[in-house]
Symmetry: C2
Subunit: 174 residues, 2 copies
DNA sequence: GACAGAACTGTCCGATCGGTCAGTTATTGT
DNA sequence: ACAATAACTGACCGATCGGACAGTTCTGTC
């Protein structure tokens, strides 16, 4: 039953967003009462947390790889830049990339195409025979469509949480 | 006053999402009453629509460019693929890129790097001297961070609207 | 000063939200 | 068979939402 709830919640959250999905919606989809959901999960947030646990682990692995590829200082700047990037992007649709050039200049940085390929495979996935460049390009368009509609954005608290959490994963001091 | 409302709404929508921002929140930020908002705008949706009007125009320009670059059939497949992509991405964090290979094989397609550069410049922006590859890479990471949290997603209606709207812009029959 | 219309507000409403709780039904161990 | 526990539910609550509406204040024209 827990699994049924998580399945329905995942589909509904994805379809209508967290705030756009009520407990009643999930209960109707599962075929049980709203109160039953709150028997299995302490509250609505707990359902989301459990759904995002694997995503968080995946992200940690990604950050770990990034640290290995770029070294500590570069990774630190990159993570901060990426967080800024994500926030800025959502706010203005356009991103100005600042403060991430350290990635370009770092002597330990492997060939950018290799990194891109790894990232595309790890994050995006690729159809057989498709080049990572095109996959990345389509992903870029995906960003735009994703952001062209009103989406939630982390507030300042979540921003700090994201940044410090990433630093912690990388073993860096904030 | 209309401009003040739009400014506040843009900032608050970006900070907390559309559903996460109440009319009272906007009114408090502007420094007027909630009823005053509804004097200037027929309802909450009207505020969002007006905010997204320029984004829509920008997207239309992008799609127009895409049609020129790739030809009608390719553009059609690409747009459908991108819509699927955006939806799929949000749903499962990972994307499987399918049905977009036509972009790769199309004889009229210019060098992919040129297209990427144009897109990065148009959509993402670039710091002086930064290569589009790195900008695209960072944008890719931005996608992940953007999607790693619960976000709104277009429902089936909006999906159809996106697709048919894009087709209309490109002068294609749906 | 009188008036008109735009700008604005306080107050109320129905609907819906997340969550609580007492009570009922199903399942299990002995 | 029976008690104990898990699973589940209907009814309800306070809070908040978007929106409606009558009435008030501001601003400009004659």
């Amino acid at each position: 039953m827990r699994a049924d709830i998580l399945d329905s919640a995942a589909r509904l959250f994805a379809a209508h967003g967290f705030r756009g999905t009520s407990l009643q919606d999930i209960a109707s989809d599962v075929g049980c009462s709203k109160a039953s959901l709150l028997y299995h999960f302490t509250n609505k947030d707990a359902i989301l947390s459990e759904l995002f646990a694997p995503v968080g682990r995946e992200f940690d692995v990604l950050l770990g790889r990034l640290a290995l590829l770029t070294g500590e200082e570069a990774a630190k700047a990159a993570v901060a830049g990426v967080v800024d990037l994500a926030l800025h992007f959502r706010r203005q649709v356009k991103i100005l990339l600042l403060g991430v050039d350290v990635l370009l200049d770092h002597p330990d940085l492997p060939d950018v195409d290799d990194v891109t390929e790894q990232l595309v495979d790890a994050l995006v996935g690729r159809a057989p025979g498709q080049t990572p460049r095109v996959a990345g390009w389509m992903a870029l368009l995906g960003i735009f469509l994703t952001s062209a509609r009103g989406v939630d954005i982390p507030d300042e608290t979540m921003r700090a949480e994201l940044t410090s959490g990433a630093f912690r994963t990388l073993g860096l001091s904030s």
